[in-house]
């Protein structure tokens, strides 16, 4: 049965066969993700069950649909998936049935009343050459974003591309790609970067909005603190090996097999704020570091430019050739200075012999 505008989420979920027990488990998990005390579970459950379907519009621009994949991934249909599926019913380019003019009409209907809907954006927005590098239905991404995001109650960006420009914005950024907050300044944005974003965080952001009627507190990059409030490194299950000085030296060595710290293999956990270590991926099956590969820092601004080399500790020094590392240059500078002054010393010694100073010098200058 197709849900109507008047059905609340509790009704829709029970109709879809979600038991009360599963629903409460979902609410408890969301309460935990939001870092709320356990007693809030009842409040979250009441709010989510009572929620009238807020209209959600999902826009895709310069992207790989990886965040949609992240949204749709599930070993079995979860409560979260159903909640989000119901919420995002009005317009989603990848999964909606409508096409062509019907799709455009759906978008227009969903966004007819300014300030009544939430927008989710996936993918970066090109700005070069009038934004022609991404058009949908003959309109540029920039044009659509200005109208749809500009009139939205709030915009949630899914993935690093829509948050910060992501991979399309990596140097030399041929399309002039930017994130939503730079393309449409002044609007309310919640950034959920990641490559892809973790669907748990999207669900939790929506649940936070349903429960409290406001968006979660954010950091200086507009990322919600519940998901991006601490570094992967500080929550990592391998942290004890870091503190002990036990590091993987090469892939497949004894340390790697024993699950030691991937710091020396270029892991960017110490540079990356995300809750991967806490909530995991794919129904909490695993996560990158848990699977034995270092973090690549995908949820940080400009990660493709600043977090590379992926398997190196520090970025390469700009302007010194791609293989020059800070240590080689630093050692070179130190050696050059040492060498220069050794030569100066020999020359000074020769000068002292060849051209001795007079026994006493001119008087000390008054200073």
């Amino acid at each position: 049965m197709r849900p109507t505008k008047t059905d609340n989420l509790g009704t829709i979920l029970s109709r879809k066969g979600v038991s009360r027990r599963d629903f409460l488990k979902f609410c408890a998990a969301m309460t935990a993700v939001l870092a709320l005390p356990a007693r809030y579970t009842d409040r979250v459950a009441a709010a989510v069950a009572e929620a009238k379907k807020p209209v959600l519009v999902w826009l895709e621009f310069q992207d790989c649909a990886g965040n949609t994949e992240s949204l749709l991934r599930a070993s079995s249909p979860s409560v979260a998936e159903i909640v989000l599926d119901i919420l995002s019913l009005d317009y989603h380019e990848t999964v909606m049935a409508a096409a062509g003019h019907q799709a455009e009409e759906a978008l227009q209907m969903a966004t007819a009343e300014p300030g009544t809907y939430l927008t989710v954006v996936e993918g970066s927005i090109p700005t070069k050459d009038g934004g022609i590098y991404c058009t949908v239905g003959g309109r540029t991404a920039l044009d659509i974003a200005r109208e749809v995001c500009g009139n939205a109650l709030a915009t949630i960006t899914c993935g690093t591309c829509s948050a910060f420009g992501g991979i399309p914005a990596a140097a030399p950024n041929p399309t002039g790609a930017v994130g939503v907050q730079d393309a449409v300044p002044g609007i309310t944005v919640i950034n959920l970067p990641g490559c892809p974003m973790n669907v748990v965080n999207l669900t939790a952001t929506v649940v936070h909005y349903l429960t409290f009627g406001e968006l979660p507190a954010t950091d200086q990059f507009n990322r919600p603190l519940f998901a991006y409030g601490s570094r992967i490194h500080d929550d990592c299950e391998r942290r004890a090996h870091f503190d002990a000085g036990q590091f993987v030296e090469e892939w497949g060595d004894e340390g790697h097999r024993a699950g030691w710290c991937l710091y020396k293999m270029g892991c960017k956990g110490p540079a990356t704020f995300h809750n991967c270590a806490l909530v995991g991926w794919n129904d909490q099956t695993s996560w990158p570091i848990g699977a034995g590969h270092g973090c690549v820092g995908c949820s940080e601004p400009n990660f493709w430019d600043t977090m590379t080399p992926i398997y190196g500790r520090l970025p390469r020094v700009p302007g010194f050739g791609i293989e020059a590392t800070a240590d080689k240059i630093g050692l070179g500078i130190a050696a050059a200075v040492g060498g220069a002054f050794a030569v100066h010393g020999v020359a000074s010694a020769i000068r002292a012999k060849a051209q001795p100073l007079p026994k006493t010098q001119a008087h000390v200058e008054e200073d």
């Binding site: 970025p315 100073l357 010098q361 000390v364």
Partner: protein, 239 residues
């Protein structure tokens, strides 16, 4: 300005000794030396943990943690030392400790001394600059070193703050990451370490050179505080 006691005045007149480096100057100098050595060693290890710890070594069970602890504590000591020295440069110290010694290029006289010192170092002039405090070129170099100290302190505490978002240092330094990523901040922190190591090599060499050529007891002055001037009278006596 410190007042000269009658005893000091007597010693200056009789021996040609002048009390140049006061206790805070010498103390912060040596504290800085110790801090830079410790911070460089532990910092290099943190960036590239080259010491392998055997998993069977029970006392090594917290090796990186220990290195970082030493690094952070030493960083606080270094900041305290820089704070004392900055106070002494602006308020407490004598004229040789003053900040003016670091910016000789502000006056025409200072620019002349800069040229003299540069010509001496480049073998274009035989007589070394004879001054009681820093020579002009040394002072100018220290201005850059002070700048590098502040770069190290700011980048260091910004990175330190990352483990405690919302904390004191985060409040002070969190805005930096709007302009530069933490990986590049790490790179800067790392490169400046090498610049300071290069400076240290130059500094020790120049101290030996000037000690020998100026014959003013420069090397011992950083321990005792006293430097020597060669009075004109002596010149007459020798003739």
């Amino acid at each position: 300005m410190t007042t000269t006691t009658a005893h000091e005045k007597f010693r200056e007149e009789v021996t040609g000794r002048v009390y140049v480096w006061e206790i805070p100057v010498r103390l912060t100098h040596w504290v800085n030396v110790a801090c830079i050595v410790i911070l460089s060693f532990t910092g290099y290890y943190i960036g590239n943990p080259y010491i392998r710890v055997s998993p069977r070594e029970i006392y090594g069970g917290y090796f990186m943690g220990l290195m970082r602890f030493i690094h952070f504590v030493t960083a606080y000591v270094f900041v305290a030392s820089i704070a004392v020295r900055t106070y002494w440069a602006f308020i407490g110290g004598n004229r040789w400790a003053s900040w003016r010694a670091l910016v000789p290029f502000l006056t025409p006289e200072g620019r002349g001394k800069l040229k003299h010192a540069l010509q001496y170092y480049l073998f274009l002039r035989r007589d070394p600059p004879t001054v009681l405090g820093h020579n002009a070129l040394a002072g100018f170099t220290y201005a850059w070193i002070v700048f590098l100290y502040f770069v190290q302190i700011i980048t260091g505490f910004a990175l330190y703050a990352q483990s405690h978002p919302g904390g004191f240092w985060w409040t002070l330094t969190g805005w930096i990451f709007l302009f530069i990523s933490n990986q590049y901040l790490r790179l800067i922190h790392h490169l400046v370490m090498w610049l300071l190591i290069a400076f240290a090599l130059h500094h020790v060499y120049s101290a030996f050179l000037v000690d020998a050529e100026e014959a003013n007891g420069l090397m011992s002055s950083i321990f005792s505080g006293w430097k020597f001037i060669v009075p004109e009278k002596e010149e007459e006596v020798e003739k």
